[in-house]
Symmetry: none
Subunit: 211 residues, 4 copies
DNA sequence: AGTTAATCGAGACGGTACGTCACGTCTTTGC
DNA sequence: GCAAAGACGTGACGTACCGTCTCGATTAACT
């Protein structure tokens, strides 16, 4: 086999086994708190470091930018609340009634979009992702894709049950539920309510159902 | 009615009649060019001023922020290209075939989303609008609403022609065409193509049409 | 006449006519005070800026380093105290008695070397000059040379009066008065006192006088 | 009297019997090399450790500062070259001709002051000693005093031989030879040459000799 | 020879200061 | 009399070293 000499002679790459778990936690907490309190643009690396009681270099050693820190912090927050939520958290309900199931999930999403603990950081990350494609793709892959896959699974089940036309591509169909809500939220193009998401589901399923 | 002198004792309020048209143009051009060339975050007020051959104060006198400058510049760009486009710019095609009409408009939108002259500044503004609600609302009102109204008009006409169920709310229905595309573009959640927008229209209209 | 286009395309070179005199004074004062209070190594550009109520950039705009600031500050201090001292401050006494004249001047020098207002900054500058040849030469030229010239003048007068052998080079002879004192002071090689400098003069003049 | 174990409860005081000789050598070499290559201010403890292939703590365990390391390294360099020089290193020539003897020694000093292997580190140490009195005194005691004592010895011999007036204090007289040269070198106040030191000796001895 | 304890290379850590960049305000100068 | 030019106080950037603090892995002295 060929030699596997390292390929980046520039920076020595820190030794992650020696990493301070305490500092990481403190940095996550500080970053999330600051974003919520003062907003993303006024959140600075210096501020995070100071609040976390940590040297700036400790941040730059492990992350490349403010956005990077915040993304990991947010991901960690998600994992944390999931761990708290119990052992079988993430499945899409399947009662047989597609409309009701989707409406339920969307209502939960609406709740989350309104919780400032989630709203402010997600908004900040989403904004960053709009402009920074690499970070945007990471966000999608790590934060959104898991949920989207659940939608796809549920829609496939509905197709098997004959409730959705078989020629429909579930990866596109799910956008009818998610994208309008996402856009209203992201761009403030309209109010967000249970009534609205329910309507969305009704209109959309009408088009997906067999005639 | 009497004169309506505004009453701001704080700042002398610049006299807009004396404003230099040449400077304004130069600032617009510089702002757009810089955003396209180096990206929004690296575009600075100082850079715009230098490139426009203008004092910084001349920018701060008339605009409140980098985002503000860029928004006006972008609006101006829109008006300009519309003026160039000739005397009949702002109507939604109505050939009687709703699907074809919408597909055509969406294909034009796809083209625009891919033109870097438009893409980079719009992305920058959209990102800013995600985080800055006030600017976001302004963006929607000034840049998006006119187009949305055209969709609404066309959908109403389709309802009158019996091609769309009368109980459908056109302001929600239009989101089935626009939001999935918008989200794919904004969040890089998927590829954008004529085929994609065509499929969107087909799926959506299936749900809107009377049974 | 030939064109006189600027030759440094790199940095725009600040406009010294717009320079803030108040800031300069504040910076000089802060630099000298800090050096005396906390010593040269613990004096930082940041500290000077903070104490002077000035932005760091204002320092870096006009000086290239901490040592540079301190040198100008010290020079300014010298000019200032000279201006205060009256209109004809800087002449070497010439009573006809060379030994007495030189002893008097050296005693004044001893006094100055012990005044902390002068001692700490001069020591710092001297140290810097030992290692940084360019700054060292500047120091010698601006701070020491004027005094040395006065010695040379007095020695020449003594030669004319037949008190010093004519073949003696005054530029070397003066080092017998100055260098031992300088070295004792700089390198802490011995105590400094009037008695010491008097002895120096006696020994040295013995060698300079005609037989 | 009883044992005189020092009482420092704070630090366990490293056990010098276990000290790694190899590391010490490597640190000396690295320190001297770096000072010559990049100059004293750009020489860092981190750099010395890296170049010596040694942990930073190994430096801080045995030395208190960069200057401290450099001083020991330089002292060691001196001892080393003396050991190489053979068994009769440390005597002042005494041919009976005081002028010739002193001129010879000063010429050797001039040579040394120009050898970069010595010049750069000595300059750095001298500069440090100017500002840091404690280190300055150490330097004088360890590096200069031995040589000075030799001068004193030679001058005493000259007094015994009637070549120097008996009331002259040799500790002051020697400064006429050494200080002017030292100052020229330290402060770049003038060129250094054999001719110069020869002149110095001539002028000075003229003053020291009996009439 | 095996045990034990200190030193060793390594480098992450909380900090401080660096020198640079851009901010938004304020002042001077020239057209 | 406005606007270009740009100096100013401010504050964050990302980097370099500081001196301290763990980590195994030697390594040398003492059972």
């Amino acid at each position: 086999m060929a030699a596997q000499k390292s390929t980046q002679p520039a920076k020595p790459a820190p030794d992650s086994t020696r990493r301070s778990e305490k500092s990481r936690r403190a940095i996550y907490d500080a970053a999330l708190a600051l974003v919520v309190e003062v907003g993303y643009p006024k959140t600075t690396v210096e501020g995070i470091a100071a609040r976390a009681g940590v040297g700036k270099q400790t941040i730059y050693r492990w992350w490349s930018s403010k956005a990077d820190v915040l993304m990991e912090a947010f991901l960690d927050l998600g994992e944390q609340s999931m761990r708290e939520a119990g052992p079988v958290p993430y499945v899409f309900p399947d009662t047989g009634d597609l409309a009701a199931d989707v409406k339920g999930v969307l209502r939960a999403t609406v709740d989350q979009l309104r919780d400032p603990r989630f709203e402010v950081p997600s908004r900040a990350l989403a904004a960053e992702g709009v402009v920074n494609e690499q970070l945007g793709r990471e966000l999608v892959a790590k934060l959104m894709q898991p949920s989207l896959d659940l939608y796809i699974g549920r829609l496939r089940a509905a197709q098997d049950a004959g409730q959705v036309r078989p020629e429909i591509d579930p990866r596109i169909a799910l956008e009818f539920f998610i994208s309008p809500l996402a856009q209203r939220w992201l761009q403030h193009t309209g109010p967000i309510s249970y009534e609205y998401t329910d309507t969305l589901v009704d209109y959309a399923l009408h088009g997906l159902a067999p005639r």
